[in-house]
């Protein structure tokens, strides 16, 4: 990082801090001021929350504001908006879309959810069957989406819908921003194995989307969506400090409860500790490699490891808990506002971790991705690749 650039950035941060009263300003107002000063996402273009700087300057900005005690994003909220919608709108959206959407997204005034997966389009995301049919300046959307977290609280959604049934599956999709207050949107909680409903099913019946809310060209939806999927994988697999996450929970239990200790479990604990630590170091290494560039398939490796360890260690934790491992904190059906993989009790953590190898790309798909994109191994046979979508078996 160049010294004069850093100095200029620090000055801008200080100017902003000097211009507000941190004791009285609300979170949303402060975040809005950050956006207007180009200090939201520094890598974004000037005028759209950024300063067109390399992404590697972002941590410095976050640290500075944190040190100053400034309000930040609500943790665990609007992950889809910040991690997927924002970079996509910034990269592919028109200036009008950026102007209208990015600021309220950043401040948290408008949260986003993701309308991608469908009952018939899981790993094979390009198989989505939700149809968008053009009617003048508007698109009429009909279909069913699933695994949508925060659909009941989100103001907007990123949506992938089929706009051409004659084209092969990857070429007939289009990417939209969908208004979740449209009367044609029906959100129903989807209860999962943990007992709560973190996700929803979303039924779309004659939902109307103005063409001005289309992101990218008609038929380009797959390319636009893949851009954010890469972001999601990095978000899920990102680096953390030592002894964070599941291993931190287990280490804490081991330290606080000498009566639970057992020699065979001890070696297992240490093996997991080592694995968690090397995964952390590998994430750091990957972060350095990607510092300036775009997220690539290497991010899949982090997610793969994260999921495997979270499942193994949380399973170990239930056993380590001894007889209390037989208990479960609460089966009450709820719709949580945010997700914390390591929140609640060992039973919850164990069950919730099962989703880690499914959401955001199954571990099997990620292994294919690494094998094909990184290692250059021959691709899977794709019998539906060049066939018109309407003729594909489903």
């Amino acid at each position: 990082m160049a010294e004069d650039v850093t100095a200029d950035l620090l000055r801008r941060i200080q100017d902003l801090l000097d211009s507000v009263d941190l004791d009285s300003i609300g979170r949303e107002d402060f975040l809005a001021a950050r956006y207007d000063a180009g200090l939201a996402w520094v890598r974004f273009p000037v005028g759209f929350g950024g300063l067109a700087m390399p992404a590697e300057y972002q941590p410095l900005v976050e640290t500075r504001f944190q040190e100053a005690g400034a309000p930040g994003q609500l943790p665990g909220r609007n992950g889809i908006g910040r991690g997927m919608a924002a970079p996509t709108i910034a990269a592919v959206g028109t200036d009008a879309q950026r102007t209208r959407l990015l600021r309220p997204l950043w401040t948290g005034a408008e949260e986003y959810c993701q309308l991608f997966s469908e009952p018939g389009a899981g790993s094979d995301l390009a198989a989505v069957a939700t149809r968008a049919v053009r009617d003048g300046d508007t698109w009429i959307v009909n279909g069913q989406k699933v695994w949508t977290s925060s659909a009941h609280t989100a103001r907007r959604a990123i949506l992938v819908a089929r706009t051409d049934i004659d084209a092969p599956k990857h070429r007939g999709l289009t990417y939209f921003i969908c208004d979740m207050t449209d009367p044609g949107i029906d959100v129903r909680p989807l209860r999962q194995i943990t007992g709560e409903a973190e996700f929803n099913e979303v039924f779309l019946t004659d939902v109307r989307i103005p063409d001005t809310d289309r992101i990218g060209a008609v038929g380009e939806g797959w390319r636009v969506a893949t851009l954010t999927l890469n972001n999601e994988r990095v978000a899920i697999g990102g680096g953390v400090p030592r002894e964070q996450g599941m291993i931190g929970k287990v280490a804490q239990m081991w330290r606080e409860h000498p009566e639970l200790r057992d020699p065979a479990m001890h070696d297992q604990l240490m093996a997991y500790w080592v694995e968690a630590e090397v995964a952390r170091l590998a994430a750091e290494r990957l972060g350095q490699r990607l510092a300036a560039g775009q997220p690539g398939p290497e991010g899949s490796a982090m997610k793969l490891t994260f999921a495997r360890l979270a499942q193994a260690i949380s399973g170990f934790e239930v056993q380590l808990a001894g007889a209390d491992g037989l208990r479960y904190d609460d089966w009450t059906m709820r719709r949580p506002d945010s997700v914390d993989f390591t929140g609640r009790g060992p039973g919850y953590r164990y069950l919730r971790a099962k989703g880690n190898s499914i959401e955001g790309g199954t571990s099997e798909i990620l292994r294919n991705l690494i094998a094909e994109r990184v290692l250059g191994l021959p691709p899977e046979q794709r019998v539906d690749k060049d066939v018109s979508w309407k003729d594909v078996r489903r």
Partner: protein, 363 residues
């Protein structure tokens, strides 16, 4: 914990390229395999590495004729040695013995080691986590037996921890009178182990405040460089296997198009990247004498050995029948990986050690 540069620096890249070029020209699997059937002359290779690139002086200060480089560079060299299985005493002499002698401040000997004029080995088992003296200082000379020592068959200086009346002393012994070195068959003949018997062997005492500490520092540096070597072994196994599954055809398709094989290789690739990160971090923090280095060393040695063995085992398995033949070099890497897994203590021992360092007591 600390933030470190996890990727090769420019200097490291240049060093890596130089070592790789020299080794690729001089180390050939057939020659390595011949070492299992009888002695081969490994001196010229070591002389080339020390003379042309100066690998023996990396950890020696410039005023004593070395390069004044650090553990990161040593780990890079170890990685390239692992990639080719170069049968040279780099680990034993240029890392373990050199770090111990630097601690002891024997600058004359260090200068000779740095130039490659002399080669040293610490008389301790290659599988030892810590040095345990098995030799006593007698009026007639050093007496005792040390088993499973690596690198000693090529050494002209043997460093010995010897029990004396008032504590442990560090001695230098020259092979010859009173010294018997027996190099029998070893699992890994690219780095054979020897048993050393001292019977009233003449020696020179090296003054050092704490002989055990000096030698253990050598072993610790060896463990960190070994992690680099293990990454190199794993990389060769992985690259070779990846190439093979792309060209080997069965059922009318390259076998690398089957998910059973793709997924195994994807997992292995992830493991090797993690091993590389662990090895690099350990080398960096040890080189800076950072407070995290004991933890980093234990982590690297708990992990990298297992990954190298896994890579070598996958190499044998995914080559099918050819991987089981003497003709294919896979077995040379398997033996090296398996022997390396034991070196400086096995992963179980390092995890036990780690437990004490991170406050996770066994009971």
């Amino acid at each position: 914990m600390t933030t470190v540069e996890m990727l090769d620096t420019d200097t490291e890249q240049q060093l890596r390229a130089a070592v790789r070029k020299l080794l690729s020209q001089r180390v050939e699997p057939r020659w390595l395999a011949a070492g299992y059937d009888g002695p081969t002359d490994r001196g010229p290779l070591w002389r080339a590495l020390t003379g042309e690139i100066g690998v023996a002086g990396l950890l020696v200060a410039e005023q004593h004729g070395g390069a004044g480089a650090g553990m990161r560079e040593a780990a890079v060299v170890a990685e390239e040695i692992g990639r080719t299985l170069a049968p040279v005493p780099f680990l034993a002499s240029a890392v373990v013995a050199t770090v111990a002698l630097a601690r002891a401040g024997d600058h004359d000997l260090l200068t000779r080691l740095a130039s490659g004029e002399s080669t040293a080995a610490v008389a301790t088992s290659f599988a030892a986590v810590d040095v345990r003296p098995a030799v006593t200082v007698e009026p007639s000379g050093l007496t005792g037996a040390i088993t499973t020592v690596a690198g000693v068959e090529m050494a002209d200086v043997i460093l010995v921890a010897a029990k004396a009346a008032d504590g442990i002393e560090l001695h230098a012994v020259t092979p010859g009178r009173g010294v018997t070195i027996t190099t029998g068959p070893s699992l890994d003949m690219t780095r054979p182990i020897s048993d050393v018997v001292l019977a009233a062997a003449p020696s020179r005492r090296i003054e050092v405040p704490d002989a055990i500490d000096a030698l253990n520092r050598g072993l610790r540096a060896g463990a960190v460089a070994l992690a680099g070597e293990q990454v190199g072994v794993a990389r060769w196994c992985f690259d070779t296997t990846l190439q093979y599954v792309k060209q080997r055809v069965q059922f009318g398709r390259p076998i690398g198009s089957f998910q059973a094989i793709k997924h195994r290789l994807a997992d292995l690739w992830v493991e090797i990247n993690q091993a590389e990160a662990a090895a690099r971090y350990a080398a960096d923090v040890l080189g800076r004498d950072h407070s995290d280095s004991d933890i980093a060393t234990a982590v690297a040695q708990s992990y990298c050995g297992t990954v190298a063995v896994h890579a070598a085992e996958e190499c044998v398995q995914l080559h099918g029948g050819i991987g089981m033949t003497w003709e294919h070099p896979a077995h040379l890497y398997l033996n090296r990986a398996k022997a390396d897994e034991l070196a400086f203590g096995n992963p179980y021992q390092h995890r036990s050690r780690l437990a004490g360092l991170v406050d996770l007591p066994p009971r």
